[in-house]
């Protein structure tokens, strides 16, 4: 039950994009088409689950026992960068179709603050390993969902007559604001 609450909280109530503002860059950049939004979301979810495992081990098995928590930021970012690189290489070797679908998104993920934010949050909240994995999965699902909804709205938005100064990023931000407003409805759930 507790795990389910963590999942729901990360995916919907405290959605990474719409209420914690993590991963805004890909949210604005890759939400043009629903197909690329889903690919990006899947790539992010995959890396998030891996990151939650690796950074949990790094923090609670290496950094805390040796009392070198101050190295948290550089070590997390290096581990995430090499992890993404590694995942990219593995996918390229194992599955070409998957690589073609996710390939171009993987390098972008390194500087996605949602990934580092996830690692920092789980060390801050002192989750256990299983809780961390569920948290990562929930965050990934929430990210994918936000990206998918946004892409769906933007596809419709292409056909509407938006005032010229608001075309592009401004109207996207305003749409995101309304979407965040809608997600606030979940706030009392947990």
């Amino acid at each position: 039950m507790e795990l389910f609450i963590i999942f729901l909280s990360a995916a919907i109530v405290n959605n990474f994009v719409l209420s914690l503002f993590l991963g805004i860059c890909p949210f604005l950049g890759v939400s043009n088409k629903t197909s690329s939004a889903v690919s990006m979301g899947m790539a992010v979810t995959f890396v998030m689950v891996l990151t939650s495992i690796v950074s949990w081990i790094l923090f609670f098995v290496i950094l805390v026992p040796y009392k070198i928590e101050f190295l948290q930021i550089p070590s997390f970012i290096l581990v995430i960068a090499s992890l993404v690189q590694f995942v990219e290489m593995v996918i390229k070797k194992v599955s070409q179709p998957l690589y073609r679908a996710l390939g171009i998104f993987l390098p972008l993920i390194t500087t996605n603050c949602a990934i580092l934010g996830l690692a920092l949050l789980l060390s801050m909240r002192e989750y256990s390993l299983i809780q961390s994995v569920i948290f990562g999965l929930g965050a990934g699902v929430g990210f994918t969902m936000a990206l998918f909804i946004m892409a769906g709205i933007r596809e419709e938005l292409e056909l509407t007559d938006v005032p010229k100064p608001f075309r592009g990023v401004p109207i996207t931000l305003i749409t995101a604001g309304l979407l965040a407003l809608a997600f606030m409805g979940f706030a009392g759930m947990i």
Partner: protein, 226 residues
């Protein structure tokens, strides 16, 4: 290579012309997340500027020593070092502020402004020019965050820097200090900025047309504007 621009230009361009938030759409996460009040925005912008200035300076000093293939990794390590310094100093000196900013101080490390300036400017220019460029971009970021924080704080909680500025009769708009308000404020501000730039460009173009048309038949210009 392009010609050398004046140092004043390198500083001023960051304020408006290539303002990181309004024009380049970089560093959006902190711009949206921490601007609940002016104080938070200010603190975030100062921390970011600190990291930006020192990492640009250091990267520019050692730019000839870094092999091209590993430059991104090297940049990230340098940036992460300065972020750690900023994070620890803030935790020690301003614990409440550090708590209010939450994970966003450590997240400066993945702020695209810093890596962007390192890659686009500091790795190609002299330390002094990089310093000026970093200061300009940092100030631009500061302006954007303070403006956003100001708007959200005044409307959302009636105060500015903690002092009440609007009368009690004004019902605060709760939405402004919630996540949705951040998106709406930034969207509207960006729209306004675009509107202003569009209008300025149009007026400039009109003036140019008028200058080159010395003939008295200025009636046609009106028709061209539409």
């Amino acid at each position: 290579m392009k010609e050398k621009k004046s140092l004043g230009y390198e500083y001023l361009k960051g304020l408006w012309e290539v303002n990181p938030v309004f024009k380049q759409v970089l560093g959006m996460c902190p711009a949206l997340a921490v601007t609940v009040s002016v104080m938070n925005g200010l603190a975030m912008a100062l921390a970011t500027t600190f990291v930006l200035v020192f990492s640009s300076l250091l990267i520019s000093f050692i730019r000839k020593l870094i092999p091209n293939q590993v430059r991104i990794a090297a940049f990230i390590v340098i940036i992460a070092t300065f972020v750690t310094i900023a994070d620890l100093v803030m935790k020690a000196k301003f614990p409440e502020l550090s708590k209010a900013l939450g994970p966003f101080v450590p997240l400066i490390v993945v702020n695209c402004i810093i890596l962007g300036r390192a890659e686009a400017f500091a790795s190609k220019n002299s330390p002094f020019r990089s310093l000026i460029d970093a200061l300009g971009n940092g100030t631009g970021f500061l302006i954007a965050l303070v403006v956003m924080g100001g708007i959200r704080e005044i409307i959302g909680s009636r105060t500015l820097l903690g002092y009440q500025v609007l009368p009690n009769g004004f019902e605060p708009w709760l939405i402004m200090i919630l996540p949705a308000g951040a998106f709406l404020t930034l969207g509207l501000l960006m729209g306004l900025a675009n509107f202003y730039v569009d209008r300025k460009n149009r007026i400039e173009k009109q003036e140019l047309v008028q200058k080159y048309r010395k003939t008295p038949d200025s009636v046609e210009i009106k028709g061209q504007e539409a």
